[in-house]
């Protein structure tokens, strides 16, 4: 498990990193927590000529209050997201999703930004971020640009991040007071999601006023369960109503078949897990 030889740079600022990227040509990879990139390099499925380590750029790490949203640095680790008090108060869904990633070792090294740019369909953060309608802030040679979550995830392991760009922050609107739950289905504890459901609900007077549902691993990108969201809006807070709405969970999905289950099993799981996620989020 030895990667091919590569050059290495560890810039201290985003500006410096951008100029290293600009000079390095197209055979370059950014290194965040390395939990996805390094294994791929060791297997020689990737052999970049240069690796630019973002680990020394302090401005990319941490969670800040930004008025009606939280600004999360791309290099904030899963562990930080899972335990941050601001996240717990305003975006418990993110904390819960981050806490399900892999194992403590991976959570202490893997980063929020790295997981989002890596965009593994089975990754746990993309669906949560999509459900929250986050905004991605990218720094590039031409300055900063912002991409909405709905446009960020473009396909299997593919995002809107262009060559020469760095994801610096993710701006996630606050959902203070919403109930949230991340329902992850795996065979062993440290596994990637077979299917998972990210749910946030705002309950008012015994009715579900609003719901936001994201699906993990039900297609090549994270998906919104729009039909479920619509069906839930305004329904009474009962198990029956939630079950009826959750029956729409697989609509518009296109899950893969693999060793953990075929597409029809995943569609079925999406319905069951959506029901469970919403019930848990609503505190029923």
């Amino acid at each position: 498990m030895i990667p091919s030889a590569f050059d290495y740079a560890a810039p201290a600022t985003v500006a410096e990193a951008l100029s290293v990227l600009a000079d390095a040509g197209d055979d370059v990879k950014l290194l965040a927590g390395g939990q996805s990139l390094i294994p791929v390099m060791k297997l020689r499925l990737a052999d970049p000529a240069m690796v630019v380590d973002l680990g020394r750029i302090g401005e990319l790490s941490g969670v800040r209050d930004d008025g009606d949203a939280l600004l999360i640095g791309a290099m904030t680790t899963h562990h930080q997201v899972a335990t941050d008090p601001l996240v717990a108060a305003h975006l418990p869904l993110l904390a819960k999703a981050a806490a399900t990633v892999a194992d403590p070792q991976v959570r202490h090294r893997g980063t929020f930004g790295g997981a989002l740019v890596h965009a593994d369909p089975a990754g746990d953060l993309p669906a949560a971020v999509l459900a929250a309608d986050a905004t991605f802030i990218l720094a590039g040679p031409g300055g900063e640009r912002r991409v909405e979550a709905a446009d960020f995830f473009q396909g299997y392991f593919t995002t809107a991040v262009a060559e020469g760009e760095i994801l610096t922050h993710i701006r996630v609107p606050k959902y203070t007071g919403w109930g949230a739950h991340y329902e992850k289905f795996t065979r062993v504890a440290q596994q990637w999601s077979i299917v998972a459901v990210a749910a946030m609900v705002r309950v008012e007077d015994g009715t579900i006023a609003e719901a936001r549902i994201g699906l993990t691993n039900m297609g090549s990108t994270p998906l919104r369960a729009a039909a479920v969201e619509q069906a839930l809006a305004g329904t009474p807070l009962t198990r029956e109503a939630i079950a009826a709405a959750s029956a729409h969970a697989a609509e518009g999905t296109d899950p893969a078949s693999d060793l953990n289950g075929d597409a029809s099993y995943r569609r079925h799981l999406a319905e069951v897990l959506t029901r469970r996620a919403v019930i848990a989020a609503a505190g029923l």
Partner: protein, 789 residues
């Protein structure tokens, strides 16, 4: 003899250095001028090699040489199979580096020798091998048809067929009569999926060819067997080879092998005249280290309407994979004697066809043949209970050997010396709360709870302590089953124990110290156990088959006893008494009826100085002993699993697991507990998690731990373990083996529990591993076909 040490739950003396990283695994060894190897492996499961172009690799920076199959064809011999189960057993030649053809994906086709591991890896990418793909045969039920051949030159996929028939052997009646007269006939086919041993330390070998002897360090379970077999395979005099197994990070049978990589590392070292190291990657380990299980079991069990089993007919297809490794062919045979398990039915027939396929070869994996056999009979017992609407425990009890019936000669021809299945079962039931769980099961069924509860039962026994040499001879195994030990009393009175049973994580150093401390009456701390180096431990047959204590430990005790006898002569001389008047207690030789005594250490010093010894006494206090067991030992136990099945998702959870094992007299309860826990985890892994999966081309799909799911601590329940103690009569200590017990019993207990939870919904069987998607699919299918209530 005092018993201060035997029975004491001592933490292992090995652990401090292992868990603080002060360990010495093979990959930690670095020698001056050492070169590094990387293997080029076939991506195809079956192909003709049309050319190997290594020119680019040879000129890659840091590369010293590249070896191809053609380069070493006249030196590499054929890797050994030590168990020709029939005189006409067929086997292909097994070159370490493939020469003309490859027969599984992962087979080595070239080896890079370079100045660094990185340079070797880089150059491996540059070797250009041209292949002409050949059709592959992967499935046992296809292989038996002989339409596509794994090795066309052999003309068949059948390696051998081995039969045991109680009618012919005179150990029982013919099974055909039992089947014909059956009041109840249960016919089932079970699939033992292919497993990968997944030891924690990948395989690694360092070879130093400088000096008079070739020294081989290897992550092996079997340094002695490796030395003999490598020497024979490569045509090197055995006396010119020294094998060292330093710290070895687990094996589970997976390192009971003579591997291509070990042979190649020797060839590379001889070729370059320099020390060479090869350490495999995890991917290589999963792909090319031997696999286990992989059998299809076609079974017929006959019984009376009262639930008395009258006969069992076993037809096995066993997957050898592409080659016969060291004991590949014999693994199903180790199971052949265990299908009758703890039961006393009178007729039994076993027929096994060993088949080649284009996959990595199989060989020993924890339990080796016995888990498969136990799974079959314990699943059948549950099926019989369902058929007769009886409690599965009651069916077992009706058929098992009662404790007063020992010694008992089984229908498979073994003599079980002892056992008490009633006692172990009673204890397990009590710890489990059987009746309360059955009541809860009824409630959940009645309320249509989405989470259903099932109770899985498995009893087991196994033959372990491999093995009486005569028995192995009768089964055509090439070697014996004895074990060797030496006990040396140093001038200071400290003790060195040399054992041929080389441990790789079992804790022999601790257990053997406890044995000797008691026997010689010295403090535990004063005993040092040496092993794993053929120059220190010249004779031995190593560690596998739960043999170490019952065979190796007995050799240690025998050697200690000889030391006492030897010292007694000198004690008598020193105290001017006659030998008959000397007794040995608590480390001291005493003259009976007097206060006079001499400590073992004083005698050791007197022998060392040799100033005043009896005439003709050789001045040393060392003794050797070789112990060959007369019989196996037969541990047994009762395992109970409460399984929850989420019928909405198919997810299976172990709610409670109780096992009561009878491993006879226990030397160190902590070590026994560790073996049981690890064994349970591996057995549960077969039931629920692990499976080596290949695609249609024969490529291993579960090629990393992302897909080959080894359960971890969070996935396993708290185990309730307990023991009964029925001493074995086949060795002086009364001990039985424990290394494989948990693995053997847990797999059927779990699967029986899963099925018990969903059988009322119409599910009849689920293939292992019982993954959520399989359980869900079985539930869906039952719904479609109308579901039996």
């Amino acid at each position: 003899m005092t018993t201060a040490e035997v029975g004491r739950a001592r933490p292992r003396k090995e652990d401090a250095h292992l868990i603080t990283g002060r360990s010495r695994y093979t990959d930690n060894i670095t020698l001056p001028g050492m070169l590094h190897l990387a293997m080029v492996r076939s991506p195809f499961a079956h192909a003709r090699i049309t050319s190997v172009d290594a020119s680019a690799a040879k000129s890659s920076p840091g590369v010293v040489a590249v070896l191809t199959g053609a380069d070493v064809a006249d030196q590499q011999g054929s890797l050994p199979n030590a168990w020709p189960i029939t005189p006409d057993q067929k086997a292909p030649a097994h070159p370490a580096i493939a020469v003309d053809t490859v027969a599984f994906a992962g087979e080595v086709v070239a080896c890079i020798i370079a100045r660094s591991a990185a340079a070797a890896r880089d150059a491996a990418e540059l070797v250009d091998v041209s292949y002409e793909e050949l059709p592959v045969v992967l499935d046992l039920e296809e292989a038996v048809k002989d339409e596509v051949l794994a090795h066309p030159d052999l003309g068949t996929n059948k390696s051998a067929t081995w039969i045991f028939d109680s009618g012919e052997a005179g150990t029982g009646k013919p099974v055909s009569e039992a089947l014909a007269a059956a009041e109840v006939l249960i016919e089932r086919t079970f699939y033992q999926q292919r497993l990968i041993p997944s030891f924690m330390e990948p395989r690694s070998t360092v070879v130093d060819p400088t000096g008079e002897q070739i020294t081989v360090w290897s992550a092996t379970q079997v340094p002695h067997i490796l030395r003999l077999m490598l020497a024979l395979t490569l045509g090197i005099p055995e006396s010119k080879m020294r094998v060292i197994a330093p710290d070895v990070g687990g094996g589970f049978g997976g390192k009971l092998q003579v591997t291509p990589e070990e042979a190649i590392t020797v060839l590379a070292a001889r070729h370059t005249g320099k020390p060479c190291k090869y350490t495999e990657t995890r991917s290589e380990s999963l792909m090319a280290a031997h696999h286990g299980r992989a059998q299809v079991q076609k079974l017929k069990l006959s019984a009376t309407k009262d639930g008395i089993v009258t006969g069992l007919d076993v037809h096995l297809l066993a997957d050898m994979g592409a080659y016969l490794g060291l004991v590949t062919s014999g693994i199903p045979i180790l199971g052949a004697f265990m299908y009758n398990s703890i039961y006393k039915f009178p007729a039994y027939r076993f027929e096994c066809t060993n088949l080649f396929t284009n996959k990595a070869w199989t060989d020993a994996y924890r339990g080796a043949g016995r888990p498969e056999a136990t799974f079959a009979i314990e699943r059948l017992m549950d099926e019989l209970a369902v058929e007769l609407d009886m409690d599965p425990l009651e069916v077992r009890e009706k058929n098992w050997i009662k404790h007063e019936e020992f010694p008992f000669t089984t229908v498979a021809g073994l003599e079980y010396d002892s056992g008490n299945y009633e006692a172990a079962t009673a204890k397990a039931l009590e710890l489990f709360g059987y009746d309360a769980l059955r009541a809860e099961q009824v409630r959940r069924r009645e309320s249509n709870d989405p989470v259903q509860l099932g109770i899985g039962i498995s009893t087991f026994t196994e033959m372990c302590g491999l093995a009486p040499s005569r028995v192995l001879g009768a089964l055509n195994y090439a070697a014996g089953g004895w074990e060797h030990a030496q006990v040396r009393v140093l001038p200071t009175g400290n003790i060195e124990v040399v054992t041929g049973s080389s441990a790789h994580g079992q804790g022999h150093e601790t257990a053997w110290s406890q044995l000797v401390a008691d026997r010689l009456g010295v403090p535990f701390e004063n005993v040092e156990v040496l092993h794993g180096d053929t120059q220190i431990s010249q004779r031995g047959l190593d560690t596998y088959g739960s043999r170490s204590l019952t065979v190796g430990g007995m050799a240690v005790l025998a050697a200690a006893d000889k030391v006492i006898e030897k010292a007694k002569v000198v004690a008598a001389h020193m105290m001017e008494a006659s030998e008959e008047d000397i007794e040995f207690t608590d480390g001291k030789f005493r003259v009976k009826g007097t206060e006079q005594s001499t400590a073992l250490g004083e005698i050791a010093f007197a022998i060392f100085s040799a100033h005043n010894l009896p005439d003709g006494f050789e001045p040393n206090l060392d003794s050797d002993a070789t112990f060959d067991p007369q019989n196996f030992s037969f541990p047994h136990g009762t395992h109970l699993a409460a399984m929850e099945v989420d019928t909405e998702t198919g997810q299976v959870t172990i709610r409670k697991y109780v096992c009561v094992d009878d491993v006879g007299v226990v030397v160190n309860p902590l070590i026994v507990e560790g073996q049981v826990h690890g064994g349970l985890a591996q057995g549960i892994a077969q039931a629920l998690y692990e499976e080596a999966v290949h695609d249609d081309a024969g490529t291993l799909v579960t090629g990393s731990f992302v897909d080959y799911l080894v359960p971890g601590a969070p996935d396993l329940p708290h185990f309730t373990t307990a023991r009964t103690e029925t001493p074995s009569t086949t060795n002086q200590l009364g001990a039985k083996g424990v290394g494989e017990a948990g693995t053997i019993a847990s797999t059927p207990a779990i699967v029986n529990g899963v099925l018990d939870a969903v059988r009322h919904l119409g599910v009849k069987d689920i293939r292992m591993p019982c993954t959520p998607s399989r359980v869900w699919a079985a539930l869906e299918e039952a719904k479609m076909t109308g579901g039996v209530q």
